[in-house]
Symmetry: C2
Subunit: 220 residues, 2 copies
């Protein structure tokens, strides 16, 4: 492959975490590609929001249709007949878990990157606040990095700037990057599809809101 | 997950290798699911052939549409404007390499298996005759096995009965399983889409034909 120096592909959903990562990548790399996915999620307008943020950030935006994912397993993010778990069940994953999602997203990002001679890939997963999803853990990401290298005889580098920080620290990072307002007002994190500060009661809103409160307190 | 004892998912294209694996799995497991993929390959009628073989073998047959794969990278198996490499180039992969193909197939098989409480997955990849494709090597398969386990907190077992045998030995295995004629006459291995003994001159036909000749000689 022809190496493109200083280019990276960012997995970009238009939520708090991946938007923070997008601006983090813009500081680290000259060229950034934002990659979004349509996988049968109920709140597909998140892709439109993502497109707008990418345009404002001045990065190339691509959407991949991976709707096969929602046909593989039942989960409450793609199946409207399932009531979403508001809390993680004691003995299993929350039903918001889409099996294999990050595996597919990162694998696609790697092939996409390889075609463009890019080896750096950025994702906003975090083990600190991982909500019980096994595919957000550091061991999974590192294992996948090795697997991707072996699959294509390449040297990919998976970057996870949020892996070991909590939501308050993620807000601090956005602030440091000068995009606290953009992240607060233009992103969609809410499982019920409400942008910015969201519905306030779904697990994603609670995590995001508590982190923001915590960070804003330290700023005073 | 609820364990289904003695069940396995077989990656099944209807070619020599995966058909041999299908019958191998039928000996090892009570229930076998055959999983085929449509990914924009030129010879999509291989799926129809696969369906017929699965029906005769009495196993459940499923097809997954993963056509996004052909949009990700250029290769001569999905792009009709590219002339197929008949030999492996000295310094790169043959252009029949579909980047990420086995990565996607096996990842999908894992989610498919998990939904059914199955942990055993069978694939016909072989390092012995691997034609320069990195995703047929043993190290890739083992790394992916770990990655899949970490992605979903499961214990998958990826079986590769053909990993360390050559094409002649694969024919011997088919014979031992009592399906030499089925594999010879009903499968499609040829890159030019000709079933059974094929076109005779593409790399896949050469490999298959030489293996058969070699095996038949030892039988005399």
């Amino acid at each position: 492959m022809t190496d493109v120096e200083d280019a990276a592909v960012v997995l970009f959903s238009g939520g708090q975490d991946s938007t923070t990562c997008l601006f983090w990548a813009k500081k680290q790399f000259e060229t950034v590609y934002a990659l979004s996915f349509v996988y049968g999620q109920k709140h597909v307008h998140e892709v439109e929001l993502a497109k707008g943020i990418a345009a404002r950030a001045g990065v190339e935006f691509h959407v991949m249709d991976v709707s096969f994912i929602s046909q593989l397993g039942r989960n409450s993010l793609t199946d409207t007949s399932l009531l979403m778990d508001e809390e993680k069940p004691a003995d299993s994953f929350p039903n918001t878990f889409v099996p294999g999602r990050n595996l597919f997203f990162l694998s696609i990002a790697a092939v996409f990157a390889r075609e463009r001679g890019v080896r750096d890939i950025v994702t906003g997963v975090s083990q600190t606040d991982y909500s019980g999803y096994p595919d957000c853990r550091d061991s999974f990401i590192k294992s996948l990095n090795v697997t991707l290298n072996l699959a294509m005889d390449e040297q990919f580098i998976l970057h996870t700037p949020l892996m070991w920080i909590n939501k308050a620290q993620t807000w601090a990072l956005a602030d440091e990057l000068g995009v606290l307002d953009v992240v607060r007002n233009e992103t969609l994190t809410c499982y019920n599809g409400v942008p910015a500060d969201g519905c306030g009661h779904c697990p994603a809103c609670k995590l995001r809101g508590q982190g923001l409160d915590e960070y804003l307190k330290t700023k005073k």
